[in-house]
Amino acid sequence: MIRTSRRTLLKASAALAGASALGFPAIARAQAEKIRIGHLTPLTGFLGVIGGYAQLGVKLAAEEINQSGGILGKQIDLLSEDSINPATAATKAQRMLEQDGAVVLLGEISSASSLTIMQVAERNKKVFFSTGARSDALRGKNCNKYSFHCDIPNTVMVNAVGTALSQKGMVKGKKFFTLTADYIFGHDLLKAAKAFFGTHEANLIGDELIATDVTDFSPYLLKVRQAKPDVVCCNLAGNQVTNLVKQYAEFGLPYPLVGFNLNTGDAWAAGAGNLSGTWPTVWYHTLDNPTSKAFVAAFGKKYGKPPENHAWIDYVTLKLLAEAINTTKSTDSGELISYFEKQSQFDIGKARKAYFRSWDHQLVQEAYPFTVKPKEQMKDQWDMLVLGDAVPAANDPLEQIYPTREQNPCEMKA
């Protein structure tokens, strides 16, 4: 045993903790014969699990595109990294555009990080596809000309679930208690939820803002019980959802739990027997159409498991981007923007084709409410969800469930 200074130990612990937060970026140099594309997504932290799927999806897309001849006859050189947090995301985005020579960026799940990358894209006049961020504000007051949004926004998720709940008589005159992620995404989702409650005569009797690093929800569940709501509504994100769902099943509160946000990865992580209620999703691997089936088969062959919705969205985004570059024969930002603003249609593995809406750059597409399959009916651990009918219904215009220009105004600078 030796004499050890407590102070030295503490100082060193702090230094190590700091070093681990920085991470060690891979360094690569641009190669002239390739087209470099930058991909950022959270691989660590509370969104790290679903970010991992996003990375698998985009890598598969790049591989397939390269095998079929690449874009403009050149191979894609995909640079995919952990975005870590909003500040690091912006730094890495800037580095990818400035030093690594990326012609376009895509990725992200966190609305907070997506916002900072959007600003970098605008400053550098390069196109950025925000693939997995759902905050309405990104398409509204924070919108810019260089940013495109592929995932469904919060308002659509609220509308998809809200419609399904209304049909079950779970909205009108009911008391809701919401649990909300305490960052831009959660705040934005709560706003959309409040708007929905307002127009559908539901009462919001309580809301708790919950920090993203919370893993124990028991104090919040006690507050829910004290409030005695009719329905508990989850506006959380990533691991938060998994933890809440597990602990809600643990406490066995009598109020039905529903949610306005869920990624399939969070549902799988919660496991069979823990999840219940009605939730929204943007895509699920059981969708029955050729594009979707081909993707699920290729993903399963490469990775040995079905893709999660973030794997799908990053996959289809790189595919439609390649299609756009091949069609316009250019990687120029202006050319690409005007191509997408023509509302060109893309097959994204759903019954109806999707397009980027010209005035807010939102990828307009179908969404689905889902309920949870009873455990004994599940074919395997991935077969958890029962998809409801696509919203909007086949005869209704796609934009019906999307925020209108009045609800979510976007002013793009020329």
């Binding site: 045993m1 030796i2 004499r3 050890t4 200074s5 407590r6 030295t8 130990l9 060193a12 612990s13 190590l16 681990s20 691989l43 660590t44 932290g45 790290g48 699990v49 991992g52 799927y53 305490d182 708790e208 803002l209 919950i210 920090a211 690093d213 919370v214 893993t215 124990d216 028991s218 104090p219 919040y220 006690l222 507050k223 019980r225 004290q226 691991n239 998994t242 933890n243 597990k246 602990q247 099943a249 643990e250 406490f251 066995g252 509160l253 990865g265 799988w268 992580a269 919660a270 496991g271 069979a272 027997g273 823990n274 498991k305």
Partner: protein
Amino acid sequence: MQFEFLLEQVVNGLVLGGYYLLIALGLSLIFSVGGIVNLAHGAFYALGAYVFVELTHHLGFGASVVISPLAVALLGIVFERFILRRFYASDPILSLLVTFGLAMVAEQAIRMIWGAAPVSAEIPQSFRGSVILGDFLFSRYRLLILAVVAVVLVGIWLLLHKTSFGRVVRAGIQRPDMVASLGIRLQPYMTTIVMLGVGMAALGGAFFAPITTVHPAMGAEIMTVAFVVVVIGGLGSFWGVVIAALLVGVVRGIAIHFQPAAGEASIYILMFLVLLVRPRGLLGERIEKFE
């Protein structure tokens, strides 16, 4: 009514504190006896959870929750004998670096073996739901955890205070040189302490696996709270860690009751205040080798 709600949060906080205790007590013991800040402690917590989930596929809940901590405790013996042991006599920076490195290796190993996506286990049916005692709502499962923590705690206390083993360990914390001059080698005792410490962490991991996200980085997540508890409790004190763990649970519950946004910050404010008044922690003793 308001008061009852508050009381409910306090009681719930005590239950949660019991779980923090499982992780923090081992960390404190390893530091007190060996002078090593075991940054890999969280990795054993994560391993406990993963081994538990893996075992539940083959055995039931009961067998898995017993076997997983035992298996990880055995791994703890290897950890002490082949890694930690080399660093008792060297610069503390080295042991920090090596345990920090090990934590990263362990996390990555978990990712390689079980994948980056979380795995999950279920609470047995008989422990699902809540019981209402008086006006208080308790999760049955957390009551089970609390009972297990109480048994472990009594066991460790008896071991430290009523056995010759415990006397040597406590003497080793205060005066290792004196213990050595009496011809007692502390190293076998350290092996046992490390085994117990990481075993407790694994027990915490196994019991919490059904109610939290079991993912590769879960070890790093728990370390912060565990450190806060150890620092507040003070080194070398069994009861210091116990009180600190319960206090951290309760303060967090009360903060969430009144000011939810301050919930996670409250435990750091608590640590700050305690250190201002008592830099050695609540019941921390003056340990010569650390001064």
